[in-house]
């Protein structure tokens, strides 16, 4: 009666043993890649192919046209101002939503996403009406000599409005997870409130804030609907890149349109990539890597 254990089935040779514990890796990755190809990569390749048809010199000529270059400056500066404003204001809103209890908190939380849900053209028209010289805000501001509608400042306002949820929604969960003990420890060691914020809270919030700010910036670079209604669109002063693309399209100059679009896309992509790499390094240090 030796070695006749019925439960010990011999392993069939040649059948590979799956080493992954979590099932469905192949299938889920396949679907993801297929979908990304369909909605992202294919249109982007179209863009690149369109651009590639025009030759290097022509490409350079189109993308360095003085009016286009002026629009780069306007767009980048406005997007920078808008995302910086959002970093401050978004952090404040996330702070209020996480740290305090007050009636209507849920409602405020829901309203926070409104800029994403609102059609950008509606946002643009509304902002333009409000900030026009006869509008509610415009009337007050004009008394101080501040013009918002139909100036680069209007572009900043439109960009900030449409992209502020990025900052709120990236900072909020990090703030929620922050243990109160850390702050208590700092205070018990004699730190002032400002020191606690600067030395304890901010370093932990910083990566989320940069991500939110970066997303807000990237979104602002390409914003069209909200901006064109309030920008005034005077050449060299308040034209944004996306408007330049649209102008080229109206002239049926598809190659030039895609050339300018590819510049925006390239910059956005590089920016997002850089943020990801930097953040990966920073977070590794917090979570146990050899920083």
């Amino acid at each position: 009666m030796a070695d006749t254990n019925p439960s010990a089935r011999p392993r069939r040779p040649g059948v590979p043993v799956s080493r992954r514990v979590l099932p469905g890796f192949g299938l889920s990755l396949g679907i993801t890649l297929f979908f990304i190809s369909l909605v992202l990569l294919l249109p982007i390749s179209g863009l690149v192919i369109h651009t590639a048809g025009m030759g290097w010199e022509q490409f350079w000529f189109v993308v360095t046209d003085p009016r286009v270059v002026a629009s780069y400056k306007v767009t980048v500066l406005a997007a920078l101002a808008a995302s910086l404003f959002n970093c401050v204001f978004g952090l404040l809103m996330a702070w209020v939503l996480v740290r305090y209890e007050f009636p209507g908190k849920r409602l405020l939380d829901a309203i926070m996403d409104l800029p994403f849900a609102l059609p950008t053209a509606v946002a643009g028209i509304t902002l333009a009406t409000l900030f026009a010289e006869s509008g509610w805000y415009g009337r007050v501001l004009s008394e101080f000599g501040i013009e918002v509608a139909y100036t680069p400042l209007g572009i900043v306002v439109a960009m900030a409005f449409t992209s502020v949820p990025f900052v709120v929604r990236t900072v909020q969960p990090v703030l929620e997870e922050l243990p109160a003990e850390d702050e208590e420890a700092a205070v018990s060691l004699g730190a002032s409130d400002w020191t606690v914020f600067r030395r304890i809270l901010f370093p932990v919030l910083w990566p989320a804030l940069v991500t939110g700010g970066g997303l807000s910036f990237a979104r602002s670079l390409g914003e069209y609907g909200a901006v064109v209604f309030i920008a005034g669109n005077s050449p060299y002063v308040s034209e944004v890149i996306s408007l330049m693309v649209f102008v080229r399209l109206e002239e049926y100059d598809f190659a030039a349109a895609s050339a300018i679009a590819s510049v925006v896309m390239g910059v956005s992509l590089l920016l997002l990539l850089a943020i990801n790499v930097w953040q990966g390094r920073y977070l590794k240090r917090l979570h146990g890597g050899r920083g």
Binding site: P179, E181, D182, E184, A185, A186, V187, S188, L189, G190, A191, S192, T195, R199, I200, P203, V204, R285, L286, H287, G288, R290, G291
Partner: protein, 367 residues
């Protein structure tokens, strides 16, 4: 620095966490706040630190009222249960934090801070980890860094919230000894919270047993163990064998079990509590006690053999546990299911009409 707590009350909404706590924590001693979860021990510790504001009552450090003083100004070292190390700072930056945030005119110079940090890290024997981040440390190391950080400003009071709760048994034992020796060396007044009675008895000079927001008993570990004031304290400090019954004519009786009490006692319902080492096991009942059992389980691991006993012909809420020496066990070789008798040497009688328990001894009476 003596800590006096004078009539502290604290509620969280409907829940009263602390009620009328009066307590004196002597200078230079190690005091344990012991109690089950929800007994208010952590709230009391946090109130001493100034992290909670009591609704009523006063807290005094060396006679000086600090109730209105902010945590920042109380100058206590606080070690949090989950260490609360700053994740984005290295070990030495963590330890230096308290010194670096001091107002400029009080702050030590940079080389002085560096020297102090090195000293503190040497004290906790982790100077080789100065450049690491908290995520790279083990639980025991984090705990020691948290301690070094709390002591950086040389507080005279050190408060520790469940200091060894999250560590495994071996590290816990090591850290316990180490904290004890550190305390003996530096002589600050320390208070620590624990729900582990062994830890409290082993480590502290004075134990405060808490229950439902009130102080149940304050005593030295030895007094507490040998003279518990209440059934709660008795039950909370280790294994208890109980004989509930009724006294009549100097005999406590329930079912087939009876014990002749060595002192006169009024007739009443009562409960006799005995610790495992206060009872002997015999083959035959003695003239003072008739406590029949069946052996339920035998555990030979440890310094003595622990025998679990099921009452035979009477009832008790939990099984009894009696310790016998290995040599006695080997001589008799009792087996599971065997019948045997317990003979008490010392016992604690809780009568319903008396507020304090009575300690009884059968040593003098022949038995």
């Amino acid at each position: 620095m003596t800590i006096e707590i004078d009539g502290i009350n604290k509620s969280f909404g409907q829940f009263q966490a602390l009620r009328d706590i009066d307590l004196t924590i002597p200078d230079g001693q190690l005091t344990a706040l012991l109690g089950p979860s929800g007994s208010g021990k952590t709230t009391l510790l946090r109130s001493i630190a100034g992290l909670e504001n009591p609704d009523r009552g006063r807290i005094l450090f060396s006679g000086e009222d600090v109730t209105g003083l902010h945590v920042r100004e109380r100058r206590v070292g606080f070690v949090f249960q989950h260490y609360a190390l700053f994740r984005h700072m290295t070990v030495s930056e963590n330890v230096a934090f308290g010194l670096k945030v001091m107002p400029r005119r009080e702050r030590p110079s940079k080389p002085e801070i560096r020297r102090r940090v090195r000293e503190l890290l040497e004290m906790v024997q982790l100077d080789h980890l100065a450049g690491r981040y908290p995520a790279q440390l083990s639980g025991g190391q984090k705990q020691r860094i948290a301690l070094a950080r709390a002591m950086a400003k040389r507080p005279e009071i050190l408060l520790l919230d469940e200091p060894f709760g999250a560590l495994d048994a071996k590290v816990r034992k090591e850290l316990r000894r180490w904290l004890r020796s550190l305390h003996d060396e530096l002589h600050f007044t320390s208070v620590f919270v624990t729900h582990d009675q062994e830890e409290a008895l082993e480590l502290s000079d004075q134990v405060v047993v808490m229950r439902q927001g009130s102080v149940e008993q304050v005593d030295s570990p030895l007094e507490l163990y040998s003279q518990p004031d209440s059934r709660f304290v008795f039950n909370f400090l280790g294994q208890v064998n109980a004989l509930p019954g009724a006294i009549s004519g100097g005999v406590l009786r329930q079912g087939e079990a009876w014990v002749r009490l060595p002192e006169s006692c009024d007739d009443d319902d009562a409960e006799l509590y005995l610790r495992p080492h206060e009872v002997r096991l015999t083959q035959e009942p003695s003239q003072n006690a008739h406590l029949p059992f069946r052996i339920e389980a035998i555990n030979v691991i440890g310094a003595e053999v622990r025998v679990e006993l099921r009452p035979d012909g009477w009832e008790s809420e939990e099984l009894w546990e009696v310790g016998i020496t290995h040599s006695a066990f080997n001589a008799r070789q009792p087996g599971r299911g065997d019948r045997c008798y317990a003979v008490p040497d010392v016992g604690h009688l809780f009568c319903d009409h008396l507020s304090e328990p009575k300690t009884l001894s059968w040593y003098d009476s022949a038995g």
